[in-house]
């Protein structure tokens, strides 16, 4: 495992986290994220990203999973209800016109653990996923699309009311 000089010490923690998360990526180049070849971290490996799923906050989860931050893009379309009929089953889906998509993730900010689901999109698979997630309470839902090594995101607020009429 070679590691280049680290011009950004504050990312050491993230790197350790990723290493601890047993993400078997040979080279970790944590250079400037906006440009420069940054290897796709999550997409390459097939191991369940336990570190990312353990994170409480959304930003930490994204860091743990991808090691970089996302920029909002209107090319990513997140479809989710305005008011969830029931927090236990919230249908959500994402479509994007971005190309070379390698990974898609759904995060629910106010859930105990922000990262809900993460999908590896091999070449030839269309970057569009629908699933049903649980939401603890009203929260921003963010979808992250990793395309050509860069992260793009879309966010929507989904209101969740307490289901059931307690006696």
């Amino acid at each position: 495992m070679t590691s280049t000089d680290d011009p950004f010490p504050e990312f050491a923690a993230t790197r350790r986290l990723i290493l601890k998360g047993a993400v078997g990526v040979a080279l970790i180049g944590l250079g400037e994220f906006s440009f420069g070849p940054v290897p796709a971290l999550a997409a390459a490996n097939d191991k369940w990203p336990e570190g990312a799923f353990k994170q409480k906050g959304e930003a930490d989860a994204i860091k743990a999973l991808y090691g970089k931050t996302a920029e909002v893009s209107d090319k990513v379309k997140l479809d989710a209800p305005e008011i969830a009929e029931n927090g236990a089953v919230v249908p959500m889906s994402v479509t994007t016109t971005l190309t070379d998509v390698t990974s898609i993730s759904f995060l629910v900010a106010n859930n105990p653990n922000a990262l809900a689901a993460s999908y590896n999109i091999p070449p030839g698979t269309i970057p569009s996923v629908a699933n049903r997630l649980k939401m603890a309470k009203t929260s921003n839902v963010t979808v992250i699309v990793e395309a050509a090594g860069k992260l793009y995101s879309a966010t929507r607020e989904v209101k969740v009311t307490v289901g059931g009429c307690g006696g």
């Binding site: 097939d46 105990p112 689901a117 993460s118 999908y119 030839g124 699933n131 049903r132």
Partner: protein, 103 residues
Amino acid sequence: MASTIRVRATATGDTTEVQALIQHPMDSGFVKDAKGNLIPPHFIQQLAFECNGKTVFLADWGTAVSKDPYIKFSFKGGNKGDDLKISWVDNKGASDTTTAKIQ
């Protein structure tokens, strides 16, 4: 017992749309049972789809995926009659696999 995986894969042109529903409690570990003690986490962690020996979709799931989880995606390169292998494994190590024909 019938498999826990229900899947529909339909090919139109060179694109195959896949929908799957899996029978699984997906317990998050945050819920208490009637007597008030926590139900331990029991959820599917990874779900993989393979067609013609190639992984076409891999899902990493956390505790926020609904009970009896559902997933829909499409991929190119599958054609009618091909086999689609679906397999999942959960945090207790349990797993199930099934193979479906693309319609």
